[in-house]
């Protein structure tokens, strides 16, 4: 039976996709601003975050409205509650893109501490994980969601490698490098946190599609 409710759910789906697109753009620009030492681009990401915050509120309200008016059950309920959670994860990702840009602004007028090699590698993993997590949501693709969740270990490993190198090769040897090393350390941390949020999205997608809770049970992936 065709339901009017399906049209409403499609509307919510579109809003979450729009949020996903904004957030992917914010991450992309934050990483570009780091690579190109581009103050304007970093500033642009910080400014456009308001738009993402507003959309987060719109989506939240839409979800609450759908729950209140339709009292959804089963897959409808899982879709809406997952939508709410993904919305919050995406907003946090956008905040982390802003954090990266703030570190870029701290670094941009100082000489480069070292050529950036591993951070861009981590950025690539991070962008792929966010893209795949959103794609998994769109296409209800559990296999892709599982791939995202598994990739998180790789991101953690690379972040640790970057942190060890900055601490041991720079900060420990020459504390005067702190103003250039600490922002890089934090950027690695921000990128890794983005990967964590992408993993959360992927786990939410698995719950949405299969009604299976894998959060905090990675062994079930």
């Amino acid at each position: 039976m065709q339901r009017h409710f399906d049209e409403e759910l499609k509307g919510l789906h579109k809003e979450i996709l729009k949020m996903g697109a904004f957030v992917q753009e914010a991450i992309h620009k934050s990483i570009e601003s780091l690579k190109n030492r581009d103050k304007n681009q970093a500033q642009e990401v910080i400014t456009t975050d308001d738009k993402i915050d507003e959309l987060e509120l719109v989506i939240d309200e839409h979800c609450i409205d759908l729950i209140a008016r339709h009292q959804p059950m089963a897959s409808d309920l899982r879709f809406i509650t997952t939508g709410m959670k993904i919305n919050a994860e995406l907003e946090r990702i956008a905040d982390l893109a802003v954090d990266i840009c703030q570190r870029v602004l701290e670094l941009v007028d100082k000489p480069l501490l070292k050529p950036l090699i591993d951070t861009p590698k981590l950025a690539v993993i991070c962008q792929e994980m966010v893209r795949d997590a959103i794609d998994a949501f769109v296409s209800r693709d559990v296999a892709l969601a599982k791939k995202v969740a598994v990739s998180d270990a790789e991101a953690d490993k690379l972040r640790n490698f970057i942190a060890d190198e900055l601490v041991n090769d720079y900060l420990a040897k020459d504390p005067s490098t702190a103003s250039r090393a600490v922002p890089l350390l934090l950027i690695a941390r921000h990128l890794e946190r983005i990967c964590d949020h992408a993993t959360n999205i992927a786990e939410d997608v698995i719950y949405m599609v299969e009604a299976k809770v894998v959060k905090h049970h990675k062994e079930e992936l």
């Binding site: 039976m1 009292q71 959804p72 059950m73 897959s75 409808d76 309920l77 009604a211």
Partner: protein, 252 residues
């Protein structure tokens, strides 16, 4: 888990029409079980098997087993009076007798045990009305006609009338369908209270009601029990697509 009612391979026919098809289920003691499903799916028929109300219909046939406390109540030699004392039923429209409030409540006691002393009857009335939270409202008007009560009060009175004969199981067939939302909420609260002492099975068209008050839920379709599970599982992660379609409004 203690099963109060065990249903094994239950089939039921109205003449040539098979209304229940190979039902197997365990109804737990002192929990609320909701039976949901579209009109004509057999849910009320199943409820009426549990106290043999269907026997009043001509040409019915039942096979299989319905064990209540290990006794097969489908057996022809079942004592229907004591069965219906043990398994009481609340109907869609409250049906108090055209008697006083007091007489409604003691009606069952008088039928089962003639000559009960007045002070014992008074005690039954007070205890029964208290258990449906009507005592404070009605204690000064016990001789008033039960027909003068509001719909909600009538439905509570009917529940009190059942409780007066000390049943184990309360069958409720759409008990709130004629009540407004506030009265429905109050009857639901009463059901939550009652489940401490009684096994309750409720048939309802109102899925939100089933989700709110029951511990277990069974979904029926075309005479079959499609899925029977914990209520939270039925309403968040049903296993059968037919259950999913029904509870999300895609059925039909």
């Amino acid at each position: 888990m203690i099963p109060k009612i065990t249903v094994n391979n239950l089939d039921f026919w109205y003449g040539n029409f098979q209304a229940l098809k190979n039902i197997n289920a365990l109804f737990k003691e002192k929990v609320i079980t909701a039976i949901i499903g579209p009109s004509g799916c057999g849910k009320s028929t199943m409820l009426r098997v549990f106290n043999r109300m269907n026997d009043l219909v001509e040409g019915v046939r039942t096979t299989g087993e319905v064990l209540i406390d290990a006794e097969n109540i489908i057996a022809p030699d079942t004592d229907l009076v004591s069965l219906r004392k043990k398994v009481g039923m609340v109907f869609q429209r409250p049906n108090p007798f055209p008697l006083s409030i007091y007489e409604n409540i003691v009606f069952g006691e008088k039928i089962h045990y003639s000559g009960t002393r007045r002070d014992k009857l008074d005690g039954i009335v007070e205890e029964s009305l208290k258990s449906v939270l009507l005592w404070d409202e009605l204690k000064d008007n016990l001789n008033k006609s039960a027909l003068s009560l509001s719909l909600e009060q009538k439905q509570r009175l009917c529940i009190a009338r059942l409780i007066a004969v000390k049943p184990d199981i309360l069958l409720m067939d759409e008990p709130c369908s004629t009540l407004d939302p506030q009265a429905t909420a109050r009857v639901e609260e009463l059901m939550r209270e009652l489940k401490n002492n009684y096994t309750i099975i409720i048939v309802t068209h109102n899925m939100q009601q089933a989700a709110r008050i029951s511990d277990d839920t069974g979904f029926m379709l075309l005479g079959e029990l499609i899925e029977f599970a914990r209520t939270e599982d039925i309403f968040t992660r049903p296993k059968d697509k037919r259950t999913e379609d029904y509870i999300t409004g895609r059925y039909g």
